[in-house]
């Protein structure tokens, strides 16, 4: 995600588009809108109040050509890129925790196989386990979309869905 000319100051809300990732701190929120089968991965370190959000689209970046230029596109490379950027900014690797939201499967098309959303969730879990980052909360799967808002300071991940009559908000 590239914004030109952002100035530090009042709390900002940065939109993290599909295949993008962003790292921030304090109460500057990071927001991803309309996740269907895409997966939002939030990592944060409560001590330094540094956190990041990735809006990933595919499971496996290690076997893709362009994961070095677009790490945010893939669950595995996004997690590593987030961690690296957070540590560079002063976060402590050992206290980082993770929250996941998204990865639903709304269409039962033949070409989709087991489900595109499920593949993303599985990939994120596997990568986080490999790196020793605990998943403390998740809201994944189902057949509906989600919008998420993440605050690094508290590690709060707000998940809004449209599945019920009234718009639900879940706090992870």
């Amino acid at each position: 995600m590239k914004t030109y000319g952002s100035e530090p100051g009042a709390p900002q809300s940065v939109q993290v588009g599909i295949s993008e990732l962003a790292v921030s701190d304090g109460n500057d929120t990071l927001r991803s809108y309309g996740l269907g089968s895409c997966l939002a991965i939030a990592l944060y370190d409560l001590e330094s109040e540094i956190g990041g959000l990735a809006h990933t689209m595919l499971p496996d970046g290690d076997s893709a050509d362009n994961s070095d230029v677009k790490p945010g596109k893939y669950a595995d490379t996004a997690i590593r890129a987030l961690l690296r950027r957070m540590v560079e900014r002063g976060a402590s690797y050992t206290t980082v925790e993770a929250k996941l939201a998204g990865g639903s499967d709304m269409f039962e098309f033949e070409s989709f196989g087991d489900g595109v959303g499920e593949r993303n969730v599985a990939a994120a879990r596997a990568e986080l386990e490999k790196l020793g980052v605990p998943i403390v909360a998740e809201d994944v799967g189902g057949d509906y979309g989600r919008t998420v808002e993440f605050t690094p300071e508290s590690g709060t991940l707000l998940v809004k869905t449209a599945s019920s009559e009234e718009n639900e908000v879940t706090e992870l």
Binding site: Y4, G17, L58, M106, E110, S111, G145
Partner: protein, 411 residues
């Protein structure tokens, strides 16, 4: 002259890179925070470009002539209002509504900086030198003053490849269009250099446009027949975009949609999306008696699903006739959810094997009533290339359209 997906991918990178540089420079100049919005490669006929200008209000533009790696013209076009707003920011003048000498030169300056941003971005991607002439200020309410005297402008029926980029600003709206009209020979040289596969004849792209036209007509006709609401095709466009750009351009609101996968040559996905208000109006128009249900219950859902199903058959029949083939589609999947969420599963599935997609983008609207239907047809890239290669351009004109409405009784 032949092109392939890798060429278009490079062009897309050029557009994206150029928009980034242009946005950065705009920020630097005006102090307004900017972000690159949706970038598209657009295939448009000369007459559609002219129509787009005729439909709009007053525009102002800044145009430069290019020589070197790309020869032709690059034109940045703003809404008059938008241009004045930028000028206000620059000059600290309160609410001017005239383009006096100062405003003119300020707009020219901004336009030139943006043109140069784009061009420097392209030069970076192409690793070649592109020279730029001095900028020229243009003003008017039709295409004539902007492109009339340019030889490279596509004739009525010629299909041009356009670069369209949007730069968004925080707090202020500054939308603009950017047009590149390359010389044919210069384009041919570029395509030859960038192409990595056999590719398809540029002239066969015409088939694309015919497909889009037939599909769109079928959708509007079906919609009118089934709902009794007079509808027409408002926008019909063929875009080449990165997969990520597809959900990005969908409104951030609740949508009602019907989705299909289709199989044949080509295979791919087809989505009909309605805003909630339109979906209510359409469903109620299709149902014989007043509906006593809150939101989208069984009756409205089944009406919209049925409409989607018949529109899908019409749309794909239109394509199949142009391509002289058969295309089957899956049962409909109804969706009522946050806009982008309806599209991303499809993007993800296609993303396993491609980075870009051709999107046949159609908007069907009705006069005086809420009826906004956006149609996204996203074919599998390899299939589409094969289908087009097989295409006999001469027979397109003769292809019959076959919309059948027997299923109407079941609604």
């Amino acid at each position: 002259m032949k092109l392939d997906v890798s060429v278009l991918g490079t062009f897309y990178r050029m557009a994206r890179e150029g928009a980034g540089l242009a946005a950065g420079r705009l920020t630097h100049m005006t102090g307004v925070e900017t972000r690159v919005g949706v970038t598209k490669l657009n295939f448009m006929r000369g007459r559609e470009i002219r129509r787009e200008f005729a439909d709009s209000t007053q525009n102002v533009g800044v145009r430069v002539k290019l020589t070197g790696a790309i020869e032709g013209y690059s034109v940045v076009v703003f809404d008059r209002e938008n241009a004045l707003r930028i000028v206000d920011t620059l000059l600290d003048e309160a609410d001017s509504d005239e383009f006096d000498g100062m405003a003119r030169s300020a707009t020219t300056e901004v336009g030139h900086i943006m043109n140069s941003g784009f061009i420097d971005g392209w030069a970076d991607v192409l690793e070649a030198v592109i020279d730029v002439s001095t900028p020229e200020f243009v003003e008017g309410a039709s295409a004539e003053p902007f492109f009339g005297d340019i030889d490279e402008t596509p004739a009525e029926d010629d299909l041009a490849l356009l670069f369209q980029s949007q730069i968004e600003t925080v707090g202020t709206e500054i939308g603009f269009s950017h047009y590149l009209f390359p010389k044919r020979e210069s384009m041919a040289r570029l395509l030859e250099r960038l192409r990595t596969s056999e590719g398809i004849d540029y002239d066969k792209l015409d088939g694309f446009d015919r497909m889009a036209e037939r599909g769109a007509e079928e959708v509007a006709e079906t919609a009118t027949t089934l709902t009794g609401i007079d509808t027409s095709v408002e926008i019909r466009r063929l875009n080449f975009v990165s997969l990520e750009a597809i959900p990005e351009q969908i409104a951030e609101e609740m949508l009602v949609g019907v989705a299909f996968e289709f199989d044949g040559l080509p295979s791919g996905y087809l989505l009909f999306l309605f805003d909630e208000e339109s979906a209510y109006e359409i469903a109620d128009a299709m149902l014989p008696t007043a509906v006593d249900e809150d939101g989208f219950g069984e009756m409205r859902t089944s009406a919209i699903t049925e409409l989607g199903n018949i529109m899908a058959s019409g749309f794909l029949d239109g394509w199949a006739n142009v391509l002289d083939t058969t295309i089957d589609h899956s049962p409909p999947e109804f969706i009522h959810d946050i806009g982008a969420a309806a599209v991303d599963p499809v993007i993800i599935q296609l993303g396993e094997s491609q980075d870009f997609a051709f999107v046949f983008d159609t908007v069907v609207m009705a006069d005086g009533k809420e009826f906004d239907c956006e149609v996204y047809a996203i074919p599998d890239e390899d299939d589409l290339e094969r289908a087009l290669n097989d295409l006999d351009v001469d027979r397109i004109e003769d292809a019959p359209t076959t919309a059948e409405f027997q299923e109407l009784d079941n609604v």
